[in-house]
């Protein structure tokens, strides 16, 4: 098994302070002084300082990884705090990199931090990734996942992968010398909109902790050159059933990037590859919109206007405009409940689901139907400040 430990020179000596700090590592023959020096010499890049990145960075810093790179361009949002434990309440509105770096420095001043305030893209990924020995994928979208995978394969860096959805998680190690890569597992991404990511979104706050620590464990093992890496295996975590299952990932001999006859030899346009550009509305369909202020005016005036809410019932419970609840997934089946002669305004939480609904309704002959721009979130922001936001 190819692990980067073999490539790493034995690390620099440890100071007395470091010896004391890491003593519970040094007492284990599997780590010992040599392993701790390997950790100190290791350079690990974490892509994303969010749900997965939080536990990964905290534990790798605590464990004494010498150089930690972080890539993120986002700002801490109030809704992040439920799971992104590296950020705290006073950090809301701060840059994630700044917030994370502060916690990591306080936790372990012996860690060298290399922050990259950037969106990882085809223009910078090879340059950034090649400055590290291995990469932790803590991203949240397919475009960046394929980018991280390809950059790792092209630079020969192992890619420690994790992903989460509601109560389910996946973890693996890709792009080791003999192991499969993410494209061996999934040669291409699903088209946007097919996998019900929006209506069924959400994640159990502890899940990124579970999956992130599986990733952190794999990083430490790879650096130490100990144990059996998760390469060639996909670990499925089911937090509800509390079951861990393992599937084999064969290396695909026809893999376009890590196979013996690669057709991909440079980074690509990943947003185009993943069809992201059409994600806000069904490809190429611009739907007519109404602003929240205008809707408020029209409703107050008592105009005959049907408000249709295409969110899920549990979202309707949080807040609503008193509209007809008709979840997007049920729309084709229940479309006959709508009167196409009436003026209709469709909304969801922030707009994309209702844009799909409007496009669908226009396709089946509705003419007087518009999308509420910004959804109920815009209503809570600009019309009714007392309404809860989520």
């Amino acid at each position: 098994m190819a692990v980067p430990a073999g490539r790493l020179p034995p690390g620099p000596p440890l100071s007395n302070d470091e010896i004391l700090r890491y003593s519970r590592h040094l007492l284990m023959p599997e780590v010992a002084l040599e392993g701790q020096q390997r950790l100190k010499a290791a350079r690990v890049l974490c892509v994303g300082a969010g749900g997965l990145g939080s536990p990964v960075m905290l534990y790798l810093a605590a464990a004494g990884v010498g150089t930690l790179g972080l890539v993120d361009f986002d700002v801490v949002d109030y809704t992040n705090l439920q799971r992104q434990v590296i950020h705290a309440t006073p950090d809301v509105g701060r840059r994630k990199l700044e917030s994370a770096a502060e916690k990591l420095r306080a936790l372990n001043p012996y860690v060298g931090l290399r922050p990259f305030e950037a969106r990882l893209g085809s223009d910078n990924a090879l340059d950034i990734v090649s400055q590290f020995d291995l990469v932790v994928d803590g991203t949240d979208n397919f475009a960046t996942r394929y980018l991280v995978n390809d950059a790792c394969v092209l630079t020969g860096r192992p890619n420690v992968y994790g992903s989460i959805f509601r109560f389910d998680g996946q973890a693996s190690v890709f792009a080791t010398r003999d192991g499969p890569c993410y494209r061996c597992l999934y040669p291409e991404p699903p088209p946007p909109g097919l996998v019900p990511s929006c209506a069924e979104g959400g994640v159990l706050g502890i899940l990124p902790g579970l999956v992130g620590l599986i990733q952190a464990t794999e990083v430490v093992k790879l650096v130490l050159g100990r144990g059996e890496p998760l390469a060639g295996r996909l670990l499925l975590v089911d937090a509800l059933g509390m079951q861990f299952r393992e599937l084999k990932i064969p290396k695909n001999p026809e893999c376009p990037i890590c196979g013996p006859h690669p057709t991909i030899t440079a980074l690509q346009d990943y947003e185009a590859f993943c069809g992201v550009r059409g994600e806000e509305a069904p490809a190429g369909v611009a739907v007519p919109e109404i602003q929240v202020e205008e809707l408020k005016r029209r409703l107050d005036a008592g105009d005959d206007l049907l408000v249709v809410d295409v969110r899920e019932p549990h979202e309707y419970q949080i807040c609503n405009l008193g509209g007809l609840l008709l979840p997007l997934g049920d729309l084709p089946r229940r479309v006959h409940e709508l009167d196409s002669s009436r003026e209709i305004v469709v909304h969801c939480r922030s707009g994309p689901r209702s844009a799909k609904a409007v496009a669908f309704l226009r396709q089946v002959g509705f003419r007087k139907v518009r999308n509420l721009a910004g959804g109920i979130a815009a209503w809570a922001e600009r019309v009714d400040r007392r309404m809860p936001r989520y």
Binding site: G201, L247, K248
Partner: protein, 92 residues
């Protein structure tokens, strides 16, 4: 046999995570599955009628593409897992 349905597809099975189906092959299990839950068809199969490339199927721990695909025989007690690509995103 047992079929494991992942979280993203459970809205199409009435939130059932595990189903017991009678089947002699993987293909029969899938046919039975989509006949009980017709909305799953579009998730599992493309317009060409073939299994979608981003939905992996595993019989026990092996990708059916490395076995005999849908013709792979199954036995009592086998588990079929549907494992779609998951980005991990929370964007609406």
């Amino acid at each position: 046999m047992t079929v494991h349905v992942p979280a993203p597809l459970r809205p199409f099975t009435g939130q059932q995570a595990v189903l017991e189906l009678p089947a002699r092959t993987v293909g029969e299990a899938l046919t039975e599955l989509v006949s009980r839950h017709p909305e799953l068809r579009r998730q599992l199969y493309g317009e060409d009628g073939r299994l979608r490339s981003f939905v992996n199927l595993y019989l026990n721990d092996q990708d059916i593409r490395s076995l005999q695909k849908e013709a792979t025989p199954v036995r009592e007690g086998d588990a079929l897992s549907i494992v779609p690509a998951v980005a991990g995103g929370l964007k609406e």
